[in-house]
Symmetry: C2
Subunit: 467 residues, 2 copies
């Protein structure tokens, strides 16, 4: 979809790269971590998404001729431009699986590469992962409350330009069933769905003829939008007439769509009248400013809704609108690195690391992950990352490592997963998370701890820096 | 940037198009209006942006081979696919100028084309215009309160994928001065800006050496980020040292950037110490979760800030995250068309229309626009669009028509405007809007009225439909 080129980055990445280049530091190895600090939507978890797109983008990232001439014009010197002409990413990536449940402060993905390459991909990485993780998480919240109802992404018109294309993919990872976005359907192999707008009905002199024409051309997939003039007085009676005509022809009116008014009341009313007319198999689809709270409320009211079409709130991740994912240096030039801050929560974790999900003997999740130095795998205790003195005995728990190599020397080293596989993995992981982490109001806090060694390393480095 | 193809649309556009095709209605002419219902950010105006990108996308829109084979696979019949293979948009567009101040309910852009073409471009049009109008409006709000401070877009990492590319363009239209987004700089001829991240400082054993190396490689554009370890204890003293070394070499430290802590307090402290050291010409840049309210507050506190770097809130249009722009049928098959709703504000305006900005004799804006049928140009009275009985005498006011042809038979018919021209137009228009419409709290409501004729036509059609 996008021709990502080397200039798909922030200017400061190139300004820094120039210094590393001029100071002969371009082969210096560095380790950067991708993580976020705050769970979106006040929820208890997030779903990691965007990895596959990111790997493709990084593998193919080059500075093209237009990039080079633009950078020349803005003052970059020829020797550096010559380096950029031959740029490719040659580093390693370690990552959680796409669809994994992730939590604040834990490294979700680690980049190990020379400084210049690691900096140049920073913006691209954040740009891809922050959006898809945000939207997959939002989608998952809707899935939690949709009960049996199908979820369809209707968001492209309100999405942030082509961000909507990636949002449609992320929605599937979070548990959606289909999208209205044809291009995303084409490229990501997502089921597409869609029937008619109000304009279709308006373009006819009468609603009944509009419905009949539609049914005739789409006998297999006839969904009638009934609120162009008046849902109960016109739309529904006309739809029932067409539904019965289809029945007589041995066809089936698939659904009725409600797009305004009180959806709970209307859905009940529509269901009653459809059933009274023997149109039991006609389902009810609703849309109009839905989000996870509206869907939950509709289901709590036992509104007989079979499909929810969700737009704005899904694809824009409203009201948060962004995940605060960051990319921080943890190691370079053979040394662990740290960034300090007045706020302990903003002090970074040095060294290359691993994250383990902790489980009880039976394999159920313990509701805690531990971040350790890479290579460690025996722990007695894990420490709260920010609150001194708070710790937990973990010596008896099983550990599942979450970061695995996904790119080696600039090439993918794991098979490409299908959308269905990624969505299935995500759904499997959500199943393992117990309910108290999934509720909307004050969800239980999933514990993220750090190992003894990581804790002392952070303290040691902070001490050095502060002195 | 994006290869927009015919499938960059919602599935329902194609489902409807198939019916029009099968029913031999493909040459039936239709008129659709683009407008929104609610001003974003609780503000008093919006800035229309995205037009030039839209015109380019529509002119070049084709169904490529991958589109056609995907649509075949999903069941579209061969005769229709053959039509799509030769698809191009052949209609006319009438639009406000890009950068225009726009208000709820007024047609901002009108599409006049055959039904199929007009439907197929709907999603693309909304996807492009909704984002850019949202972001240009957000940017403009920051410009209003930035006083002399420069505004730089730092948002790509938190933007919605490639939506960030378009957001950078829109930010310039709203009054920003530069972007960190190199690709947007390259393609849209926007000044780019950027210096160093914390990782740059961290990658050195000491901050001073990091600053010195940077100054040496970037003597003309040295901005030092001073909060990696401790702003006042380490960062500032080191920056001052480097600033004086540069001074001695006849160079100039351009700026210091603050990215955490209390920005008002720190900016004052930094300014005082810089001045005490004779570094008067070193400017102060700040970043970290800025939005229009923070910028306003910093300026009210007289914080001596020269540049504001704004990310998330700008490019995501937080907290609204979307503009509710819609695309509604107003005329088709030779007849005016209407959509009804229980809520009067959701009843559409039939017919092809024009919008006039009303001005007093001296040319100052009257704070009102009138929507009329196309071709009308004499009005005594304008009517509130939704509140019966409310009207205003406008017979003595001058009128500036806002909708002008921008595309004829599928080809642009106005010259392409440069970013600077569009931004200058927007700024000129903002100047003409009086202050009470621009304040953040309860801005005065700009009046949008409808003409006598439009009012009676709407009433007539609503009556027919309701009967």
């Amino acid at each position: 979809m996008i021709d990502y080129t080397g200039t798909y980055t922030d200017q400061y990445e190139l300004s820094m790269a120039l210094v590393y280049f001029k100071k002969n530091r371009y082969n210096e190895k560095a380790v950067f971590d991708y993580f976020f600090r705050k769970l979106p939507f006040g929820g208890g978890y997030a779903i990691f998404a965007g990895l596959d797109d990111l790997l493709g983008a990084i593998e193919n990232l080059r500075f093209d001729n237009m990039d080079i001439s633009f950078l020349k014009k803005t003052g970059f010197p020829d020797d550096f431009l010559n380096y950029l002409k031959h740029f490719r990413f040659t580093g390693n990536l370690y990552s959680c699986r796409e669809g994994e449940l992730v939590f604040p402060a834990m490294p979700i993905l680690t980049v190990e590469a020379n400084l210049i390459e690691a900096q140049i991909i920073e913006t691209l990485l954040l740009n891809i992962l922050n959006l898809q993780t945000l939207v997959a998480t939002k989608a998952s919240r809707m899935k939690l409350v949709a009960k049996g109802g199908k979820l369809v992404d209707f968001g492209l018109r309100r999405a942030h330009g082509p961000g909507g294309y990636y949002a449609s993919r992320a929605a599937m990872i979070g548990g959606f069933d289909a999208t209205s976005n044809v291009r995303a359907g084409r490229d990501y192999n997502i089921p597409v769905s869609g029937t008619m707008a109000h304009s279709f009905v308006q373009s006819y002199d009468d609603e009944l003829t509009a419905f009949r024409d539609f049914a005739q051309v789409h006998p297999e997939n006839c969904v009638l939008l009934v609120d162009t003039y008046d849902t109960l007085k016109n739309g529904l009676p006309n739809a029932i007439k067409v539904g019965k005509e289809m029945q007589e022809r041995g066809e089936r009116l698939r659904a009725i769509r409600l797009d305004s008014g009180d959806l709970a009341y209307l859905a009940k009313e529509v269901r009653k009248r459809l059933d009274a007319e023997g149109l039991h198999e006609v389902t009810i689809a609703v849309s109009n400013q839905l989000d996870e709270y509206v869907i939950k409320s509709l289901n709590e009211q036992n509104a007989p809704i079979d499909l929810f079409g969700v737009g704005t709130s899904l694809v824009t991740g409203k009201p948060d609108a962004a995940l605060d994912g960051v990319y921080k240096l943890a190691h370079s030039g053979g040394k662990p690195r740290i960034k300090l801050s007045e706020s302990l929560t903003k002090i970074t974790l040095p060294h290359k690391k691993q994250v383990f999900r902790l489980m009880n003997e039976e394999g159920t999740w313990a509701g805690a992950d531990i971040i350790s130095l890479a290579g460690e795998d025996e722990f007695e205790t894990m420490h709260h990352p920010f609150e001194p003195g708070k710790n937990m005995f973990v010596g008896d728990l099983q550990k599942e490592p979450l970061l695995e190599p996904v790119m080696e020397n600039g090439k993918r080293c794991t098979g490409k997963k299908s959308m269905n596989e990624i969505a299935a993995y995500s759904s499997e992981r959500i199943e393992k998370l117990s309910g108290e982490f999934k509720r909307f109001s004050n969800p239980h806090v999933y514990k993220i701890g750090i190992s003894d060694k990581l804790k002392s390393e952070r303290a040691r480095l902070a001490g050095t820096r502060r002195s």
